[in-house]
């Protein structure tokens, strides 16, 4: 709620103008039966056609005024609510961009997307609704009751009773209804989870012939959802008709009381009955409003959660480095006793890790899955910050280097190649916005991407779908490498980034990188010995701990885990054969 108020405040003028028009519009509606009663009492009863036309004209005037206000209100309400949703959406997006990985991990990416899209729409609907019907219902309700009482003061207690009973019924409806709707939502989530599980595992389901088992799961989940649905619908079935009945009985009582009234005020009675039907309509609205308010509040809470999220990282550098306009990075990397654990993880991903990668060196990083290879390279561009120990670049703690400058001099090729909507050239220009066509082609050639790009009719102007859906995994990886090479970084991080390439292409790509990266510090993460064994120095990781650091030969000599990996990939017996192979070749 607070969130909506905050944004409404920015448009107070527009908002209240809309409300003002809405109020006038509502009163225009409300006045009609009163003037109608004048027509009956003063025109029909007194046989005075002039009075009928006079009040008729006034009513037309009122109706037209109401029409004008309604049109204005609509314009103001639409503008205001759309502006507000635009601002919330923008703020959310900007906020998300400013967050760090830790935040994103915690907030969970799909949830963030839903918030920026669905939840904001939900809020927009509600804010628009406030200026449309939500304010109208209470104004109609209260206005109609006041007008009834003004015309026939004797009806005051009756109206009070009707409103109280209706209020209690609406309250009960919510009290009993909401927990049931909540349950229904949870059952729907479960149903969705069940069907998603089936769909994503359908191969296994078929291979293990577990169709019946899945059917049973699904039947249970949808059965529970149906039960929850019935329970919540039934609450509505009980209370909504009761509210109707209350107002209708009010009309009966009103008619009964009026039988003792002087007959010359029959118009008033008719007006009162008309007002009662308006009250009934408005009360029906109130339930709706409360329902959508609940949804909007839930949505705004979810949105607020993101807006209030504190970025987990300080992104500015130290005052002295900030003052320097172009902070230059050379690429000398030192890990000094670094430990890091992911949120919710029971064990640290890396523990007391120290090593040195000199400027221009190529460091191969090898290790078992989950040994901390990716984590360690993530600390260099500050995707995450290590709480213990220091990561130094050119002798300076990375947290004291301006993040923009830091990331400008680093290029990362992640395990999962990520591309964006746009042409191939646009994607490659992420590496360097001002790259010439020639540079782009060179980078593509280096990554062995030119061959397949050339087969596209549009070449480098081929438009990629969201996430590069129209490319194969290997093609994406090659583009991702080209993008990084185009950046001409000081530090190049290759995080198992050739996994989807076949061996021949991989060798060619690595060869190209090796030549182009002579002056770069390269962190080369891989699971394959053959990929890293030509590096200047190799870091062998196991369970987050460095188990060896040295050249291929050195590690073969004294690093047990390295030898194990070597043996499993190449094998003792085949090392002889390998030598033989070289000789033959």
């Amino acid at each position: 709620m607070k969130l909506m108020l905050r944004y409404i405040k920015r448009h107070t003028g527009m908002f209240f103008t809309a409300i003002l028009f809405l109020t006038v519009e509502t009163f225009a509606d409300l006045l009609q039966p009163t003037f109608m009663s004048f027509i009956v009492d003063r025109g029909v009863k007194d046989q005075a056609p002039a009075a009928i036309y006079k009040y008729g004209l006034i009513m037309i005037g009122i109706a037209l005024t109401g029409a004008f206000c309604a049109v204005m209100r609509n314009i103001y309400a639409s503008r205001t609510s759309q502006q507000i949703s635009r601002e919330i959406r923008y703020d959310l997006y900007a906020k998300v961009q400013s967050l760090s990985f830790e935040n994103i991990d915690r907030l969970n990416p799909p949830a963030i997307i839903t918030r920026i899209t669905n939840d904001v729409t939900q809020i927009q609907n509600f804010v628009n609704g406030i200026m449309r019907i939500m304010m109208k219902a209470p104004i109609t309700c209260v206005g109609a009751v006041i007008l009834i009482i003004l015309q026939t003061p004797a009806l005051f207690p009756l109206m009070l009773v009707i409103l109280c009973v209706a209020g209690i019924l609406i309250g009960c409806n919510m009290k009993f209804g909401y927990p049931r709707f909540g349950r229904m939502q949870r059952k729907l989530d479960k149903l969705n989870a069940t069907s998603r599980e089936f769909l994503s595992a359908v191969r296994v389901v078929k291979a293990f012939r577990a169709e019946e088992q899945e059917q049973q799961k699904f039947e249970t989940a949808s059965g529970e959802f149906a039960e929850a649905g019935i329970a919540s619908m039934r609450v509505l079935a009980v209370f909504a008709p009761l509210i109707n009945l209350t107002v209708n009985l009010g009309i009966v009582i009103m008619l009964f009381v009026s039988s003792h009234q002087p007959p010359d005020e029959i118009g008033k009675l008719m007006a009162s009955v008309n007002y009662m039907t308006q009250v009934l309509f408005a009360l029906g609205m109130v339930s709706n409003i409360l329902n959508s308010a609940v949804r909007a509040v839930a949505s705004s809470e979810r949105v607020e959660e993101i807006l209030q999220e504190e970025p987990a990282q300080r992104v500015e550098g130290s005052p002295e480095t900030n003052r320097k306009k172009d902070y230059e990075i050379h690429g000398d990397i030192v890990f000094d006793n670094v430990s890091f654990a992911y949120a919710n993880a029971s064990r640290p991903a890396i523990e007391r890790l120290s090593f040195h990668a000199g400027e221009g060196a190529t460091v191969g990083i090898i290790g078992t899955t989950g040994s901390g290879k990716s984590t360690l390279v993530n600390l260099v561009p500050r995707f995450y910050d290590a709480p213990e120990g220091r990561v130094l670049i050119d002798g300076r703690d990375v947290t004291r280097i301006p993040v923009k400058a830091l990331r400008d001099s680093i290029a990362v090729v992640p395990q999962k190649a990520l591309l964006f909507t746009g042409t191939i050239a646009e994607n490659l220009r992420w590496g360097d916005e001002n790259a010439s066509e020639k540079e782009i082609k060179e980078a593509a050639a280096l990554a062995c991407a030119d061959s397949f790009i050339d087969t596209f009719a549009e070449g480098y102007d081929t438009v990629l779908g969201q996430g590069g859906v129209n490319l194969s995994g290997g093609q994406k990886q090659r583009l991702s490498i080209a993008r990084a090479m185009l950046r001409k970084p000081k530090i190049l991080i290759l995080d198992d980034s050739t996994s989807a390439l076949d061996a021949a292409t991989e060798a060619k790509v690595l060869q190209g990188i090796r030549q182009a990266a002579q002056h770069m510090t390269v962190l080369l993460v891989s699971q394959r010995i053959s990929t890293v064994m030509n590096a200047d120095v190799i870091l062998c990781m196991e369970d987050g701990v460095a188990r060896g650091f040295g050249t291929h030969e050195e590690l073969l000599g004294d690093c047990e885990p390295y030898r194990a990996i070597y043996a499993s990939q190449i094998g003792e017996e085949s090392s002889d054969r390998m030598k033989g192979g070289v000789e033959h070749g």
Partner: protein
């Protein structure tokens, strides 16, 4: 990302004149929907009857009020009529209550029925069906579209019917009371009709544009979040924000216009109603003062005038909902029309005592008819042979597996198992014959123990543990807080890729099938773990026909037979030594992968 949210009923969210999806074949779909209601028709009939009764009370009560007003006007006793009115209202309450109460259960049960039949059909569909569709899309069939069907049948139908009853009833009563006033009331209906036409013509275009822009906006959000690390790594935050801001502004502009236009409908309708109210007041006032009608008639007419136009306004809206739902129903029917996996032949053979002799006989296959993945492949595999399949990505290795397990059927030629065409066996027996470890590690949101014994019932814990040990998964499972009873999240996100793969291997071990298939099973496991797995696989595949597909040639050196598939054909085959001696493509691949210069 789930879009389905349960909402307490509310009619405020939907903008009038919003985009409407048109069904392709309304009549045919409705007929088939009617067939789906089998078993619920009695309930539906009751609901429709109750709606008829409800309109009766809606039509009668203003008339009664008019009579009562007349009596009051003439100073006569009206207690009897008031009693009738009270009874009418009480009846109205009871009808509404029972109608809604009934609708809750009939509607939900019908949904349940349709949903379960849909799933029942879906699970029998061949894999090609699932491969060709996005999961999100299928999920929304199972949830949203099914829910919409019930809205069509139970809600929209009854509402429409109620309105038709109301309009007819009120019209008859009005004509009986005063044809002139009825004509006046009809005037409003005509105006509203024209107005709606004008507005919707305008909004339809705007809403379509709005939908496009919204799609673009959502796409950008999704992309920038799933590619978050790249945005950060390349310092593209500001760029992304600028792009987003542009789309956001464009969307806002169009959405505002769409909303303003569609927002005109309600107030303007209201104005027409008000003007009509005034007209009726004036005309009826004049008529009453001339003594043509009574004061009570004015009262009834004024009440009717509101009740009469409202259905006309809403009918357009309900009809739109109806169309959307029918379009959704068509999507469901489409699935129900999909052909299921071919049934077993009537003379299908049982598959017992499998030897494991596999023969490919001129097999050709393509996922699309115009692109063959496998082209006239013939192959003889003796029982108990350990076969390794290698080749570049996209060469057709996985396809081979898809054909063996009959996830797909061959286009040409045949595959024989122990001398009979695969298609001659019972599907059930055939799938039992294969133990598979697939590329994607599918784990379920149940305990590890249940995951390993997936698809089988009553498996003793010790057997599960034995399988886990054989797959080398036991040690990490024991380290988990609850060991074998640890409940995984869907997909097993808390495990590493390697651990997930170990579990699926354990699953295959437990299946103890005579033929084993391992598709890239060790690609994501680190090399040390892989070493263990390899040993486990060696043991597992001993004496069994097995197919191993691997990128890493180091893993398959000790296979009996290595098949190199290239461009849909078998390029080379033989043992590792033989192939190295041949010094062809395999030998070259091997040397490169081992870091040897070719």
């Amino acid at each position: 990302m789930d879009k389905n949210v349960v909402v307490p009923p509310s009619n405020m969210g939907r903008a009038r004149g919003g985009p409407v999806e048109k069904p392709k074949n309304m009549k045919g779909t409705l007929y088939r929907l009617w067939q789906l209601t089998k078993g619920h028709r009695k309930g539906l009939g009751k609901i429709l009857l109750l709606s008829g009764l409800a309109s009766g009370s809606a039509v009668l009560s203003p008339y009664m009020i008019g009579r009562i007003v007349n009596l009051i006007d003439e100073g006569e006793p009206m207690l009897r009529l008031l009693g009738v009115l009270t009874a009418l209202y009480a009846g109205d309450w009871f009808i509404r209550f029972s109608q809604q109460f009934l609708m809750a259960s009939v509607g939900q049960r019908m949904i349940l029925h349709i949903r379960i039949s849909l799933f029942e059909h879906m699970k029998k569909l061949p894999l090609s069906f699932f491969d060709a569709r996005q999961h999100g899309e299928l999920m929304s069939r199972l949830t949203n579209d099914v829910d919409n069907i019930s809205t069509t049948i139970s809600d929209s139908m009854t509402q429409l019917l109620t309105y038709v009853f109301n309009i007819l009833g009120i019209f008859i009563v009005m004509v009986c009371m005063s044809p002139v006033l009825t004509a006046v009331a009809m005037l409003a209906v005509l105006c509203i009709f024209i107005l709606t036409k004008i507005v919707t013509r305008r909004t339809r275009v705007l809403f379509r544009r709005q939908q496009q822009l919204l799609g673009r906006l959502n796409g950008q959000v999704e992309e920038s979040i799933s590619g978050f690390n790249m945005v950060k790594a390349f310092n593209r935050e500001e760029d992304m924000l600028r792009q987003f801001s542009q789309s956001n502004d464009a969307f806002c502009q169009v959405a505002t216009r769409a909303q303003i236009w569609s927002g005109f409908l309600m107030p303007l309708t209201n104005v027409i109603n008000n003007l009509n109210y005034v007209l009726i007041a004036i005309v009826s006032g004049v008529m009453a003062s001339d003594g043509v009608i009574t004061v009570g008639d004015i009262s009834s007419f004024l009440l009717y005038s509101r009740q009469f136009t409202r259905p006309f306004v809403d009918i357009a809206n309900i009809y739109n909902n109806f169309q959307t739902a029918v379009a959704g129903a068509e999507r469901i029917l489409e699935i129900l029309d999909e052909e299921t996996e071919p049934a077993d032949r009537p003379d299908a053979l049982p598959l017992e005592k499998i030897k494991g002799e596999v023969r490919f006989d001129g097999v050709s296959f393509g996922y699309r008819k115009d692109r063959m993945i496998l082209d006239n492949v013939s192959l003889d595999i003796r029982a108990g042979t350990r076969v390794a399949v290698v080749g570049p990505t996209g060469a057709g290795k996985t396809t081979l597996i898809n054909l063996l397990t009959r996830f797909y059927d061959v286009n040409k030629g045949r595959i024989l198992l122990d001398g009979h065409d695969l298609r001659d066996y019972h599907m059930k027996d055939l799938r039992d014959a294969f133990g598979v470890v697939l590329q994607d590690t599918a784990l379920f949101g149940v305990s590890i123990r249940e995951n390993i014994s997936y698809g089988r019932e009553n498996i003793a814990l010790e057997d599960v543990v034995k399988a886990a040990k054989a797959a080398g998964a036991d040690s990490f499972i024991r380290k988990l807080p609850k060991g074998y009873d640890t409940v995984l999240s869907q997909g097993g996100a808390e495990l590493s890729q390697g651990q997930r793969q170990l579990l699926t291997i354990a699953r295959a071990v437990l299946s103890n099938s005579p033929i084993m298939i391992l598709d890239e099973a060790t690609s994501s496991v680190d090399t040390v773990t892989e070493h263990h797995i390899r040993r486990a696989i060696l043991k597992l595949t001993e004496g069994r026909t097995s197919f191993i597909i691997a990128h890493r040639l180091s893993t398959i050196r000790d296979s009996d037979l290595i098949i190199l598939i290239c461009d849909g054909r078998i390029a080379e085959k033989g043992s590792h030594e033989e192939l190295m001696k041949q010094n062809g493509q395999y030998a070259e691949m091997y040397r490169i992968q081992m870091g040897m210069k070719g």
